[in-house]
Symmetry: D3
Subunit: 290 residues, 6 copies
């Protein structure tokens, strides 16, 4: 008789044991230097997801039948203590990977990715990161802090080494960051062109996928900490998600939705739809059914 | 490790069987004629409640220890079919009463009260209704509809008979409604004066309590369908709640929070605090502990 | 000396008798299951229309001279009683058609279309419906209700029969709805491609045109009940409107603008401009002048 | 069948000839130096007024039967040309006074009052002004402009002479303005105390009443150009309105509602209720009926 | 130790004497007839600019090193006195031009452009104006006022003569304005096509550049007085800015950002980024460094 | 010619050397656990202060002549590193105290107070803290963090010892916090009663004053991280400020304005007015002039 609408992301109500994908929220935004609020993303996405359908006409797959997802709820992260929060995330992702499941983290700000990559990198040799974003996130430090949304990919680089990060959509950063990216990463500017060639370039290499939703144009996705004009459309992201489904993705996140800057709710709608498409596209059991 | 924050009203996570009070949401606002949105109240109250403390310094009681509340979640009500929605509510309240528990319903618009009163009136002879509101809600029909937020107390009157409804805070209605109230109800205008005498007047009679939160002044509670200037302060409501705790309340509701008209969140904060105070004040086990 | 700005949609101030097109509002959204507020669309569109020009550089036509429109104001519809509201709409459209005029209805949620199509279908044999929307709207029922924004095109299908509904822009629904559409309707997914061929395909058949504005991308049109990412641009809708002007349109509606979710007003601006272009494009007298 | 809701302030639909009170909007805010938007007040008040009842339980009078009001709509005022706008207002008020009717102007910013007082002062000897406001409005000029919301009462003083302006609620201004007020006006600070003595003090003298709604506390009335904390409650304004009904009021205005700063709508609700109460309180025919 | 963030547009903190470009705000919107608020643009742009990087990956130039900009702050303009405000702007621009520097004005509404062009036209023979806008702005007068945002280009035409104004992006106006534009201006409709040919067409002629940001589509730039659907993307504006850098620009402005209608902040982000790109593109010293 | 409006809090433009009071912003909110945004308070207060007058009719004093304040701007604090941010604040306050001036800090969240008290306590023996707040802020730790807005007064207690903190307005906390307060602090619940006796109780003891603006009722001050219904009015705060002027205040702060939750701007208006009154009330030179 009673609805479960407010409790999980739509149709992600499997028990942990039977789940193929394990979703959790990381409501942390303490290092956000511009507009805070990403802490509310997972809560809002769960509530808004029920306004969408569970069926994807793009993939002819349905969340309720094509995959098995468990939504654990949110981590309870300490604010103002970045190191502690990252450790909690790392432990969670490690446990999920140890159980042979695919972790799916809803940010929070982009720093949360570091916790997940730490867990994955220790366990999975040869890990690559595919990174969609408007910003390079490659600073050495930010106002003295080495753990920051603005430094996260520099820290990931230190973990994974040369040419292991594949960036798309980048259109903002300091000159030094662009020079660093050119020397040490695989960075494509402005849009997602070339993402269809990743399958060949990575040829089965294990991939952690991190999508900073501000890769979308602010018209499409206003609700984010640092909107950067000149981004991609939702249709372009949708198409990319289908390409990303052909990679060997072992974990992924969706970060930087900031609901307080999304008064019309269209950013939440984008985030929810992208998540549905990712859950279907990255699910091995769903692919087997196609 | 994981937080339950988004799933229940704070600290209301007991199992149904051990619960003294059973809380549920009735997300329905199809007959709202002015500003819709009360359907979102229960979802928002659950999320916002975690910004409050579970301890009440007014009553020196704490939700986590002084009472046992089960939050069932929301009913899944049909929109645009008032009769069907009321039937679902009636069945729910009946089941809770049959199990010897106290039902607590979060509206939704005020019409939802009729479903609860129908269940209670059939089961409990001599039932009275205590009704806090800015509006009389005593129309015979509204644009042809007999089931409406604007007619709900007329329908309740038809169930309970003469002088069984005790209204407080009333400051808006048609002349005919005020004349009807004078003839058939116990109606006090403008504020809550006299509520401290209810204990004597009702002398143990079973009471269903219905609080339309627009009894508060719009400065205190802007987020409602039909804000009516000239209402009471939160402190006055707080004091009244302590008086209401001395009555023989067998069920209650809190209705007409409309989150889309509450951009600063202060209405949700009021609703959450009033609910905490009511849960403590109306709990028999809490009172036994004092 | 006094302005008429707040009373009619701009430049639609002809008397009923001399009007070619008769515009009215249908402020109803009782079955909206996600975000309510479409009830406010006609009021807001009238007010905001005065920020536009009455002249269209796209068509080189001007509302003040090229056509004759009467704005009747809003119907006073009963909330929470879908059947009654539809009957009122049906009577209004029937009267307008009987007087040899073109009805133009501003919703309200999409269910209002059913009232208009009922009136038109009874009077006009061989009626087809051209339907622009993000959603299929083809459910058999929604939470038990057969009259719903989510079922409206199923009901229309029951009136008009096989292959009489021509859908464009569809990108959301249940799998069953897509299968139903494939079997019984003429449905094109994602965008408006092929709309330029409708003139040939319909070859003079009488058409009722229903535009659910959520066919637009949420970036362009955030203010709607259920925003669905991946839609069309305003420029694409503008071009389609010129094509639609070549059909034998006997009535039309524009639905699902929800002003509470349009804080910047751009959705209202789109709706107003689309309406100006439709009034000019669908007016037979305007076409005669070109 | 059709509603008139969006066209006049509720229940103010009499023809000009039979009207006792003539209401019109003055949508002008060109000199507003802080937050603009008062231009939208009359449009919003008309729309929102229908959420109120036409019956006043405070006065036991009903707008539909106790008085006769004609709502002319809005003046079409030139922006950026204060002198021209004032002349239009002056001509309108003059015409209404010449016809023996009571003018009621909805601002707009406070400068519009000058146009009305110019018309009244020329025609009615011995005119006094009763002025409720948070601000003195007594500057000699503002950034070089002599026509400004910040100078309007200085200009009125120049027309009416010593001790003809009775100010209440004043809590903001420059030191010089307070000194000027002390010397030349009758000014009471902070609240409305003493307003009940006006009947005696004015003993029948003709009065133009100007209510700047920012006299209310910003918690009660946030939607205004320059919110000034420390103001009065709605209940205090309500009580004052009853006292003002005993004066010989020959015209009045309600100014400085700025809807863009009223996201929850409570300021509009206050303005509408105050207007209903004023229309009933100041109507001679209503008083005759009591 | 202390941040200068709130005081200047990012990285524009050179002293006047050493500056190549002199930036100032013109917070004036008294003639705005639709939605006011452009007065707040310069204040908001200064604050929001710090969320961007000073480095442009599009031009490989950095504001902190590639050019020298002084931000003077805002003019203190008289509201409600258009002539006086224009005179203040004219004096400021004249002084900057006399000092051999490039003036950069942040509006305010579009009328402010007239003050700047008056100063430039008197000093610089053969001046042309390049004008990006959704609206023609070519009325003879607006509600009787000759100085208005709706007439500004007509006044500019009177100063500069035939075929001296090059308009792009135009998609709204009265029929008469379009006819006037065809006869006397060089006007391209809808988008920026052809802007790459301006370098040849103008062949070194001195240019004042005026960008009304509503040339952007409302999805990209909702925060403006009169949003007009069907505009350009940010990427198209970005590309045009690079072309404009090849003209002989002697002064420029960016007008019609209205922050109150930009609740998500994306319009401010666009305006800030466009300004960064313009400051780099139009700087002669920056070009010399490339 | 140019306005300084956006650069300092109104009328606080003295050079550091001649200043009696030194104002600075501490834009930090990394430990805010509920609704972030206090980082924007100082920026918004500077901008909004210019809508107020510099003259106080309550004290008959004017900021421009009665005192000398230097506004240093904002500290550039590291996000996500509470310890580092506190150290920066501590150094700033120490420098100001060393120069014999009165520090005035605009928060930021309440944790910033700890930095200021550390500086003051080391330098000034016998320091007391007067603390206005809705919340006890006395937790030992919060989710493992010892530096938090929820623990700040516990940390202050550890610095100052028994019965050195005088709390007013408290109405929320855990039971343990209330017990702790009773044992070790001087805590008055709910409102400011008794504040007029502080002069006697403290008899010249040096006082650091910390005002968490959420001591105000949410109707008066919605824009804060954790609104707590049942607070005081602005008039009560105003009266208290005059009493506080009689204490030996050696430094003070105003914290927890969160502009993103203040859509109507009334919270900023309250904060600005309270600051004006405090600057006048706590200025020794102003007092000497009275």
């Amino acid at each position: 008789m009673l609805s479960k609408n407010s409790q999980t992301y739509m149709a992600c109500d499997r028990d942990y044991d039977e789940a193929e994908i394990v979703l959790f929220g990381a409501p942390f935004d303490s290092t956000t230097s511009n507009r805070p609020g990403a802490r509310f993303a997972s809560r809002v996405m769960r509530a808004e997801s029920w306004g969408l359908e569970s069926y994807s006409p793009y993939q002819d797959l349905d969340l309720t039948e094509s995959t098995r997802v468990c939504d654990l709820g949110d981590l309870e992260l300490s604010f103002g203590e970045s190191g502690l929060a990252l450790a909690q995330i790392e432990r969670t992702v490690e446990a999920i990977l140890n159980d042979g499941k695919l972790p799916c983290m809803i940010g929070g700000e982009h720093l949360v990715t570091l916790g997940a990559v730490r867990a994955a990198a220790r366990r999975i040799p040869g890990l690559a990161v595919v990174h969609l974003d408007a910003h390079t996130d490659l600073r050495q430090d930010y106002l003295g802090a080495e753990l920051s949304h603005a430094t996260v990919m520099r820290r990931v680089y230190e973990l994974l080494g040369e040419k292991s990060i594949f960036q798309f959509g980048i259109r903002s950063g300091e000159r030094e960051e662009f020079l660093f990216a050119k020397a040490h990463l695989c960075t494509r500017l402005h849009d997602l062109k070339g993402i269809e060639r990743l399958e060949d370039e990575l040829s089965g290499r294990p991939v952690y996928l991190s999508i900073d939703l501000d890769v979308l144009d602010p018209s499409v996705f206003p609700g984010t900490g640092t909107p950067e004009p000149g981004g991609i459309s939702y249709a372009q992201l949708q198409e990319a998600i289908l390409h990303l489904g052909r990679l060997n993705v072992i974990g992924f996140d969706l970060v930087e939705l900031s609901p307080p800057y999304d008064p019309s709710g269209i950013s939440a709608a984008c985030a929810c739809k992208a998540l549905r498409e990712l859950l279907l596209s990255l699910s091995k059991s769903a692919k087997a059914k196609q």
